[in-house]
Symmetry: C3
Subunit: 403 residues, 3 copies
C-alpha cells in the first residue's frame, strides 16, 4: 500500500516534544500516572509507525539492543505483540524464563534486573496473577534499573513496560483507544460517546480485572460516558473506580455503575462485555495461593463458579445489541472471547454477535504491536519524533527490491 505521506506528516507533527520528554527514561506501568499529552503522543507515534510499516518502509530505530520479555502468566497474543514491536524497531527478543511459582523479591530482583539489562533497552513484564503483587514487582524492577543506571552499572536506563499487571493492562487499553480513534475518526469524536464496560458470564474463574480497570480508567479521560456494569459483588479495585470517576469529571465525561447489563447497553455506542473475577475473590485467592491452601483454592473455585452461574443471562447477544445506539454499537473484546456454542456451551457473547464483529476484534488487536513499539520508543529515545522524521526522510524499503 503506498504511503499516505499527508497522514504521516500529521501524525509526526502532533508528537509533542515536551510530552515525550516526560516519558523518556521512565517506566510505563499505569496509564493514570501519565499526562493526556503523553497519551496523545503515544497514539500519534503508534499511528506513524503503522503508516510507515504499511507503506513498506524500514523502521529500525535501533541498530542492535535487547528487548527482554518476562511472562509470569501464559500469553500468546501479548508475547507476539511485544516481539513484533521489538522487531519493528530493530531489537532482539530475549526471554527471561522464570519458574512461575516463585516470586522473587529484594536482592534477587535488584540483581536480576541489572544482570539482564547490560545491553537491554526495555523489559516487558506480564504479572497479573497475584493481586497486589504484579504492579509492586514492576515498580521494584524499575527502581532497580534506575539505581543501576544512576550508579553506572548500566549504560542506559533500561525501562519497564507493563504488559499486564493486577491493576492495569495499558497496552490493551491504549490499543483499544487507538481502535476507537480509528473507528470514530478522531479522539475528539469520542466525546459524549457511551461505552458499556460490562461483566459477562464465563464458565471459567479467576480472570484478571486489569482489562476492565484499564478501560474505565483510560476512556473516562476522553469525555466518554462510561458505564461499568456487573452483578452484585463483582466490583473492581475501589481505588481504580475512583480514578475513573475523577477522570470523567476532569474530561467532561461521566462514569457510573450499574447492576444491569441491559441498562448499560441501552443506547450505547460501544459495548465491551467481558468476564472477570470479583475483587473480594481475587483477594481471597491471593491469600490462599500465598498459604498454598489447595483445598481452600478448590473450594473458592467451586463457590465462584456457582456464583457465576447465577448470572448466565449476562451474555452479549442480538437481543441486547438491538438496544444499543441504532442497534449497531461497536463490539470490543481483548480476545479470546468465550463464545456461546463455539468455545463453550454458554459464554460472554453469542456466536452471531461475535461472528459479525470477529474481524473488527482482530483489527482492534492489530494496534497492540504499534502501541508497544511507541512505548518503547518514547521511553528509550530522547527525541522520538526526530528519529521517526529521520526514517521518514530516508524512506528506505523494508524489503529489498520492492520499491
Amino acid at each position: 500500500m503506498p504511503a499516505n505521506t499527508d497522514a504521516l506528516s500529521a501524525y509526526l507533527e502532533r508528537i509533542n516534544h515536551e510530552a515525550t520528554r516526560e516519558l523518556y527514561q521512565k517506566d510505563f506501568l499505569l496509564t493514570w500516572q501519565h499526562s493526556d499529552a503523553v497519551l496523545h503522543s503515544i497514539l500519534e507515534t503508534a499511528a506513524a509507525l503503522r503508516q510507515m510499516r504499511d507503506a513498506g518502509w524500514g523502521t529500525r530505530v535501533f541498530d542492535n539492543g535487547l528487548a527482554v520479555s518476562l511472562f509470569r502468566d501464559n500469553s500468546t497474543r501479548t508475547r507476539f505483540s511485544f516481539a513484533s514491536a521489538a522487531n519493528l524497531l530493530g531489537l532482539a527478543i530475549q526471554d527471561l524464563d522464570e519458574t512461575r511459582s516463585q516470586i522473587a523479591h529484594g536482592e534477587t530482583v535488584r540483581e536480576t534486573a541489572n544482570m539482564i539489562s547490560f545491553l537491554a533497552e526495555v523489559i516487558g513484564i506480564r504479572d497479573d496473577i497475584y493481586l497486589g503483587a504484579g504492579h509492586e514487582y514492576m515498580r521494584e524492577v524499575g527502581e532497580s534499573l534506575e539505581e543501576g543506571y544512576r550508579e553506572g552499572v548500566l549504560p542506559q536506563r533500561t525501562t519497564v513496560v507493563n504488559l499486564q499487571c493486577d491493576r492495569d493492562h495499558p497496552t490493551q487499553s491504549l490499543a483499544d483507544l487507538a481502535h476507537l480513534r480509528e473507528h470514530f475518526g478522531g479522539l475528539e469524536q469520542l466525546r459524549g460517546k457511551k461505552l458499556a464496560m460490562s461483566w459477562a458470564y464465563s464458565p471459567s474463574y479467576g480472570k484478571p480485572m486489569s482489562v476492565p480497570q484499564g478501560i474505565i480508567a483510560l476512556l473516562t479521560r476522553f469525555g466518554m460516558e462510561v458505564t461499568l456494569a456487573h452483578p452484585p459483588g463483582y466490583n473492581l479495585i475501589p481505588e481504580i473506580e475512583e480514578i475513573a470517576g475523577a477522570g470523567a469529571a476532569a474530561s467532561g465525561g461521566s462514569f457510573r455503575r450499574s447492576e444491569s447489563m441491559a441498562e448499560a447497553f441501552e443506547d450505547a455506542d460501544i459495548v465491551y462485555p467481558k468476564s472477570w473475577a470479583p475483587y473480594a475473590v481475587m483477594q481471597k485467592r491471593t491469600e490462599l495461593l500465598a498459604a498454598k491452601d489447595t483445598a481452600g483454592l478448590a473450594e473458592l473455585e467451586q463457590e465462584c463458579l456457582e456464583n457465576n452461574r447465577r448470572y448466565l443471562e449476562w451474555e452479549c447477544n442480538d437481543e441486547l445489541m438491538r438496544t444499543t445506539k441504532g442497534g449497531t454499537a461497536l463490539y470490543m473484546h481483548c480476545l479470546p472471547a468465550d463464545i456461546s456454542g463455539v468455545s463453550c456451551s454458554q459464554g460472554e457473547v453469542s456466536a452471531e454477535v461475535f461472528e459479525r464483529s470477529r474481524l473488527a476484534t482482530y483489527r482492534e488487536a492489530g494496534w497492540k504491536p504499534y502501541i508497544i513499539a511507541a512505548l518503547i520508543l518514547l521511553s528509550r529515545v530522547e527525541k522520538p519524533r526526530v528519529a521517526l522524521e529521520r526514517l521518514a526522510a530516508q524512506r528506505y524499503s523494508r524489503v529489498v527490491g520492492s520499491d
Copy 2:
C-alpha cells in the same frame, strides 16, 4: 571462498518471473500442488542464495519482520534450518509454543493465525503426528491468513511453509533434490537414474511416512526410475503412490513397487533406506490417540515392533551396496539414521556403509536452510529475482572488514 559470479548469474537468470508469480502470497504445503517451473525456480533461488552466502555477501532481503515457528513434534534439524533460513533473509524467529497434546481447530486457529501474524512474513509448521490432521491444520492456518489479509487485518499475506506434515516433507525432498542435482551435475542428469526408496528395519515404531511419500512424489517428476520397496503391509498413503505414478508417466520416468530391498537395490544409482510405520498402523494409531486409549496404544506398539522384527534383514549393508550400479550408489538419508552397532544394535544401515557416506548425508542436509529461504523468498517477495539481483549488485560484505 571467492564468489563464482558466473554460476551466480546463471542461477539468477534461470529464476523464472512467471513461475515465481505463481508462488507469491501462497502457502507451500505439498510439492505436487506446484508446477515444475516453480520447483526449478526454488532450486535456482536456493543455489543463488548459497553462492552469495558462501562468497561472504550479505543476503538481508528484509530489514525486519518475524518468521514464526510452530513445532508440534520435537525437532532440532528442521528447527535450526528454519531459523537459519529466516536469519539469512533478515527475519527474526519467534516460536509459538503450543502444548503439543491439544490440536486446536475452528475459531481458535483462525484467531491465533491472525494474532501472531500482524508483523510476520511466514509461519513454518511441523505437524506430522496425526494422520489426516497435519496437512488439514496447515490448510486451515493458510485460509485464516488469506482471510486476514483480504479483510485488512494483516498488512501482508503471511504465508505457511510446511516443515513436515502427515503427507509431505517438502523442505526435505527439495533439499534432497538439490543434493542430487549437485551430485550428478544437473537436473537433466537425473533422467533415467534409478532410485531405491526402501523401507529399512528400525527398533522404533511410528516413524512418519512423509519422507518416503515426499521422495516418491517429487523425484518421479524428474524422469527418474523410482522403486518403492517395503515388506508386505508397509505401504504409504495410496493417493500419494498414485501421484508418484502419474508423475513418472508425465516425466518419462517410472514408478514401481517391490517387496524386496535386494530387488530395489540392484543396479540402483541412488538408495534411500529408511524406516516408517505402515499406513494402516498410522490410521489405527491416530484413532487410538484421539480416543486416548493408552492400553490400545501400548498394544499397537508391541504388535508393530514384533512385526518390524520379522524384517530385521532389511538393512542397508555392504553386501547390498555391492549390487548397486558399480557398487557405488549414492546413499541418502534425512538423518538421524538408525545405525547398526552405533545408535542401536540392529538398524537401518550398517556402520560401514553409513560411515562411508556420513559426510555426504551432512552435505545433503546442508541444502535445507537454503531451500527454506527460497520458499520464504518466493512466497513473500513479488519479484524475488530482482531482490537477489539487487543484493548481488551491491555485493556488500556479510562481515565488516572481511572484504
Copy 3:
C-alpha cells in the same frame, strides 16, 4: 556518554594482529591453552567494544548469522551475557534445547554439531555438572566442527566458546580480570597484588569448582600473589592447582594454599570468597549420577551438607575485611552470592560486606557480555582489529536520531 576516542584508539592499537591470528577459527575452552598475547588482545577488544557501545555507536560486525546457545545447566546471567554479546555483533540467538539428563556422545554429537552450524558463527556451551564430562563434550563438538569445515560441510569454522565447564569458566575469569584492570588502572598494576581465592560456607551443595579453578589459573599469570584457601578436603582438580603454580612461577607472582580464610585475607588487596564442592565429592557425585543411584546421591548430599556445617565460620564479614590491606580489599563474586540473613540464614558473606560491594559486583558482571563478544569476534573474524577500526571510522549511531 560521548566517545573517548583517545582511549578507544589506544585499545585498538593494542589489539595484536599476530595474537588474534592464533585464535582465529579456534575454540576458546580453557584460558591456559592460550598465550598471554591472546588474553591481552581479548581484553583490549572487549574494552574497545564497550567504548563504542557506551559512545552510542553501532557495533554490528555481522550482517547476519546465528549464535547457538546450549545450556546443560540452568543459567540466567550467562545466558543473557551470551545473548547480549551475540546481539552486539549482529548475530541472532538460537537455543539448542537438549534434555539435560541425556549426555549425547559419538555420532550424535558429530551430527548435531554440524546440523546446527550450517549458518552459525559460534556455539556457546555451558556444561558443568559432570566432572570430566563438560570439557570433553566441548572438545568433541569442536572437533566435529573442525571436520565439518575441513570436509566442506560447513561454509565456516563455527567455533565453540566455553560458557562454563567442569574445569574452567573463562568468560567469568576474563570478565573478572577486566574488572581488576579497570579497578586498579591497568594490568601492570596487578603485579604483586594479593588475592585471596577462598572457600566460603554455603547451605547448598554441589557448587561447581570452575570459578575458583578459573581464577587461580588465570590471575597467577599476571604477577599476582594468589592464595587459595579452603577447609581440609575442599581442594580443586589437582592438575589445575599445578597450572596455577606454573603460571605464578612464569609471571613472577606466587601461588600458595592455605587452610585458613583468616590467613588468606590478611593484607589481601582482593578477596573472592565463594563456596564449592570438594573435588572428591564431585568425583563421587559424577559416579552416582552415572549409576542413577538416587539413594547414594541423597546420602552424599546429607554427608556434604553436614561437613559444610563444620565450617560455618568461613564467612566474609566485617571482622575479616578489617584485616585486609587498609581494611578495604576489593570484594569480588561471580553472583549470586549466598548472603547471610538475606538469601539464607548463614552464608558466604555478611549482609554488611555485600551491601557495601553490591554495585561493584554488578559492575564486575557487566564485563561479561563484552568478553564474550571479544571471544566471538577473535575466533570468527580474521582481522578483528580491522573490523573494529572500520566501525570506529564509520561512527554510525546505534540509535537513529540520537547523534
